[in-house]
Amino acid sequence: MNEENGNGGGPAAAERRDTVIETRGLARDFKDLRAIDGLDLTVRRGELFGLIGPDGAGKTTTLRLLAGLLKITDGSATVAGRDLTREPEAVKPHIGYMAQRFSLYAELTVMENLRFFSELYDVLPRERGERTDRLLSFAGLTPFKSRRAEHLSGGMKKKLALACTLIHQPPILLLDEPTTGVDPVSRREFWDILTELYTGGTTILVTTPYMDEADRCTQVGLIYQGQLIRCAAPEAIRAGIGEELIELQTDQWRKAQVVAEDLPGVSQVMTYGDSLHLLVDAAEERLPDIETRLEEEGIPYRSLRATRPRMEEAFISLVRDRERERLR
């Protein structure tokens, strides 16, 4: 939904293109394990950048490196024009970082948490009141401002954490899976807030395991085994996977799945509600074969058609390509 206001042309867009986060050959070891392995990442001003990747790919480590929370083993990283290897502390006033885990003080109230971080970020006392009020209403937390953080719902906790990261109005936001474990309504609300921040000019780097969220970003980076293997607008990622998608709607999907998996040209079969998604090398070419095969097996179907791959299929396809490449 953000494609139209993201990477368009015009002078405004050109202005937004200055790089605010840049890593070159970034590496981080944990003992013998190389968690980040030569990561080249570029985030431009005003982007809503979604970092996606399977669990353990290095999303959290990347964000922690960029927040100055981990020492860089090798390579370089620049955030807000400051070199993280040389002056990690200088970066801190310019970023808002939200950890994946809830990491505010449970026994402090909503207001006390906000106040605490406003002081650590040196928000001027005369601005504090107005700013906390605005953030509270922004996050929908005004009625709960005297409630202890430990008594908030999961979604409210996330919003409070976001409010605390926003207290110093940072131009760059680093959000680590901010919507994981949150109900769909709160998730939607959270993304509405992010979209509003994005519209206001804040650069946002967000990690997410949800592919529909990746679709809401202006730029998506796919991270796999500590490397950035694809980085483009969501549209381009979906279009550029080199595979096409066939959607098959049938009541006998179990049987159809077994049949489809053995067909030539089909690389992956995924269930999707009451339909099956088949990743194929060329949809139009393979459609007649599939049709014939289904009729031979006596599997009735409601529809069989080529469709656009979604982010999820693109993700799976890219990861699988990568795995195949590694095995070779």
Partner: protein, 371 residues
């Protein structure tokens, strides 16, 4: 250093202590209760040691002697035995701790001034009550002998009489000496709290959110220490009052001096706790290390129970690195001997020095990073 950051951390930590029930109990309730428990448990008042008497003499003198033994609180004649086997059986089943065997012709020997014929058997598995019982029997016997002899002959028995006077603790009450020493143990508890508080922040992930702010390392560490020093000061006032009220410990020195020196001690202890908290990533680890480097040495190496002079030289050196050693000297001196800074300054200086060194090391190793 930023006063605003420092204040924010202090306020946050105080709120935590007041709202988290277990932290509250640990920092405010435990020290005083621990002092009570240790003071009672570690000084034994032995009373009513059960004894058995076997009287082979059966004379007026021996009956008199037995009466003398059972007078007072200390000994309790619970059985009359008829044979050595019976005495042994009573010792084995724990009925008695001491057996007194009066030999035949006890009275005649006494009157004839030919020495005493008395045998005492004690239970060696409980030396505390056994030796105490034996001392009591010896004392009573001596008193009995002196009384029984014709006037004038008592001096012949004891040509030199030693009159000892114990200064500062005339009754040589173990508790008078122990309680001021124990204060250094229980005031060490806030050190445990600060170690736990730091590792808890790592465990709960709250540290992560603080580390991405521009706060300096010193502000964060010092801000965490200050509340526990403040809370410790409540105990600094409460504990001497309890010691005086509950155990009759005299407080002869200057309270103002005690108060000020106690703050220095708290600072030294808390910097030790902070150092532990900086290195230990989980609360159980912080707890274990605190016991290992704060409480066990605090118990055995600071001279509270065992005099430092009796330790091997290397251990004496190590004892000087423990804040508790200096503080135990200070508390005993102020409580019992009314000594002032003119004598105690080296210990106070040592406390301050240890605090500064521990804090500096903690700040050096505390990085604003996670891994």
């Amino acid at each position: 250093m930023s006063l605003r950051h420092l204040k924010a951390v202090v306020l946050k930590e105080i709120r935590h202590v007041l709202r988290d029930r277990w932290t509250f109990i640990l920092v405010l309730v435990t020290p005083i209760s621990l002092l009570f428990i240790m003071a009672y448990a570690l000084t034994v008042d032995i009373e009513d040691v059960p004894i058995a008497v076997m009287d082979h003499d059966q004379s007026a003198v021996s009956r008199n002697f037995i009466q003398q033994l059972s007078a007072g609180e200390e000994l309790d004649v619970v059985a009359r035995a008829n044979s050595l086997e019976e005495v042994e059986r009573l010792l084995v089943d724990g009925t008695i701790k001491v057996g007194v065997i009066i030999q035949p012709a006890f009275g005649e020997y006494l009157v004839g001034q030919r020495g005493l014929r008395l045998q005492v058997i004690i239970d060696g598995t409980e030396p505390e009550s056994g030796t105490f019982g034996m001392e009591q029997v010896a004392q009573r016997t001596e008193a009995f002998v002196v009384r029984s002899l014709p006037t004038g002959s008592a001096e012949w028995l004891r040509p030199i009489e030693l009159k000892t006077r114990a200064l500062y603790n005339p009754g040589l009450e173990p508790r008078v000496d122990l309680v001021p020493g124990l204060i250094s143990m229980v005031l060490g508890l806030p050190a445990l709290s600060v170690a736990l508080a730091l590792s808890r922040e790592r465990e709960h992930g709250t540290l992560e959110q603080v580390l991405v702010t521009p706060i300096s390392r010193a502000d964060l560490l010092v801000g965490k220490m200050i509340p526990y020093i403040a809370i410790g000061m409540i105990n600094v006032v409460a504990i001497p009052i309890m010691a005086m009220a509950a155990f009759g410990i005299p407080f002869r020195g200057s309270f103002g001096l005690f108060f000020l020196v106690s703050i220095v001690f708290l600072f030294a202890m808390l910097s030790m706790g902070t150092l532990i908290g900086v290195f230990m990533r989980t609360q159980p680890a912080a707890l274990a290390l605190s016991f290992l480097v704060i409480f066990f040495p605090g118990f055995f190496m600071t001279g509270i129970f065992y005099p430092i002079a009796a330790m091997p030289d290397e251990l004496q050196m190590e004892a000087m690195l423990l804040p508790g050693t200096h503080y135990a000297i200070i508390t005993r001196s102020i409580f019992l001997r009314a000594v002032g800074l003119e004598i105690l300054w080296p210990n106070v200086l040592a406390l301050a020095g240890l605090g500064v060194v521990f804090t500096a090391v903690a700040a050096f190793f505390f990085k604003k990073r996670l891994g």
